[in-house]
Every structure is written in C-alpha cells, then in structure tokens.
C-alpha cells in the first residue's frame, strides 16, 4: 500500500514559524536581509525549501512549509510598501556589511539578482511591482551613494 506523505499540522507550522522568527529572522538586519536569506533557502533546481536546523527540530515537510510561508509573508510585505520605506530598507541592507556597497550596487544594477527573490507566487502583478520598485529604489540608492562619495 502506498504511503501518504505526512502533511504538516498547522500547530507544527506555527511552532516552526515562531522558531524561525526567534532564532534566525530576528537576528537579521531588516526585511530586505530576511527576504534575501529566505530566498537563499530555496533550491534553484527544485524550487524546494530546506533548512537543516528546522528539519532537525521539526520535520523536512514542516521546515519546507515554514520557510515558504515566511518567504511569502516577507515578500508581500516588502512588495507593497511605499517607495520611501523600500528605499530605506534597501539602504539598510546595502550598508549592513554583507559586501562592499559599491559592489552590491553595481552587481544588482547589472545582473538584477533581485529577480529571484520573489517566492513562487500566485499573483504575477505583485512580483512585477516588486521587481519594478527595486529597480527604481536601486537607482535612488545609487544616486545617493555617488553623491555621498563626491562629498
């Protein structure tokens, strides 16, 4: 008889979300860093999420659901924020020390890696709006960074 895959219970997913929030996401500096982190837990080839710590404490299925939900929440929240706040969030991420600001600004402008930050989403317009907003926010941050370099 074929075994039915385990469906994570909503209680387990809630516990997992709390765990992810307290142990990992709370330590990251801003929603942009959280979005980049959560997108990086997704396998490029399969599109599935994986996290050793969460899988160890819960199960692989719970970890996958938790990461997918957290990713979607952070993404939607960022995608619909006013441009002013998005620019501040992007500046915070660029200045957080993950790489040299000029390197990030150049790489993001030329390669547009932010295109893969969107989760598997049911609303294509939200994804388009997010990518478009990041493009504009990036132009604003680049302009402001160049201005600061000149002074």
């Amino acid at each position: 008889m074929e075994q039915i895959p385990n469906q994570p219970t909503s209680i387990a997913v809630e516990d997992g979300l709390r765990d992810l929030q307290n142990r990992t996401l709370a330590k990251l500096d801003g929603d942009f860093a959280r979005l980049v982190y959560l997108a990086s837990t997704r396998d490029y080839n399969s599109g599935r999420y994986a996290h050793d710590g969460l899988s160890f404490r819960f199960t692989e299925e719970v970890a996958e659901r938790v990461l997918a939900e957290a990713h979607r929440d952070v993404f939607v929240s960022l995608a619909q924020r006013p441009m002013k706040i998005l620019v501040a969030q992007l500046e915070q991420y660029i200045n957080s020390g993950c790489a040299r600001p000029d390197e990030i600004l150049t790489a993001w402008h030329e390669l547009e890696p932010f295109r893969i930050l969107a989760p598997e989403h049911d609303d294509p317009i939200t994804v388009k709006l997010f990518i478009s907003n990041i493009r504009v926010a990036l132009a604003i941050v680049r302009e402001s960074w160049r201005e600061n370099q000149r002074q």
Partner: protein, 183 residues
C-alpha cells in the same frame, strides 16, 4: 435618424458577438481548460486588501510625490516608465480574468437548458463595456504620459470593482448547477 441607426448597429454587433461566443468553433477546448482553471479567474476575498494596496502603489500619488520631491530627473523618468509598464500589466491581467470568467460562463451557458437571453445580453453588454473601459484606461496610461498616471487610483478601483461584479454575475454556481448539474 442616424443615432437610431448607430444604436441598431451596436445592438446587432453585441448580439452577433454573443452568438459568436456561444457557438464559435473550437470553443469547446478553450472552455474545458477554463473550467479547470475556473477558480483562478475569480478574485479571491483573501486578496482584496492586497489588491487595494496594489492599486495605491500603482496608481496612487504617494510614491510619485516622494520621487518628484527627492530624486533626479533621470530617476523620475525611470519611475514613470516602470509605473507605466506595471499599470498596463495590471490592466492586461484584469482583461485576462474577465476573459477567463466569460469563457467559463459561456461553457456553462452552452449546456444550460434554460438560457435567459435578456440576462445573457446584459452580461455581454457589461463584458464589452468593461473591455472598452480597460482599453480606454490603457490608452490614457499609454498616451497621457506622467500626468495620466497620477490620481488614477479611483478609475482603477472602479474597474476592479466592475470586474468583481461582472464575474459574480457570470459565475453564479447555483444558477447553472441546478439546471445542468455542473458544480
């Protein structure tokens, strides 16, 4: 006299469109795919708030006021170009949803034993009026430039409401399920 002729011509066009929608060749396969995809055509209630936020972002003034007040002309041009693309994509998505809804409705109507011509004609009129409004707003966005985008949130909101109302009318499940057994 000429006004009467124009009205008659529009009426005939709408009737012809309705007949075409109901009996066009190849409609069966399209309709089948829409039946499977029927739920995605309906704007779900859980996205209602998100839609409102989305409209504010795309057509509202807040972002433009910020951009205009604190960035260079180059960034302003980029912003307006990006917003125009998004606005057109949003209108195109509404049209897609309306078309999906109508295909699903037509698929059900074709199997219905008690078709109500008046209701069908009203729905067809609403549908083409909606498509015309989409076209008009797209033309304003496309040709009107920066000024057209500002403050269009009201127009876009009413378009979104029109779509919801039309889909509600077109996809009343109880009406057809009683008559045809389709659920």
């Amino acid at each position: 006299m000429s006004a009467t002729l124009v009205l008659l011509w529009i009426g005939s066009l709408l009737l012809a469109s309705l007949v075409y929608l109901l009996f066009r060749p190849g409609a069966e396969s399209d309709d089948d795919s829409c039946l499977h995809d029927g739920n995605s055509a309906l704007p779900s209630a859980r996205f209602a708030d998100r839609r409102k936020e989305q409209l504010e972002r795309i057509f509202g003034r807040e972002d433009w006021d910020f951009i205009r007040g604190s960035t260079s002309e180059q960034v302003q041009r980029l912003f307006l170009r990006e917003r125009k693309v998004i606005a057109l994509a949003w209108i195109s998505e509404l049209r897609r949803q309306a078309k999906s809804g109508m295909h699903l409705h037509v698929a059900r109507a074709r199997t219905s034993k008690e078709l109500q011509p008046v209701v069908e004609i009203k729905l067809a009129v609403d549908y083409y009026a909606f498509l015309a409004k989409c076209g008009l707003i797209a033309a304003i966005v496309l040709l009107g430039g920066p000024m057209a985008l500002r403050g269009m949130v009201g127009q876009a909101g009413s378009l979104s409401d029109n779509l919801r109302g039309m889909l509600d009318a077109a996809l009343k499940p109880e009406a057809f399920s009683q008559k045809t057994g389709i659920r």
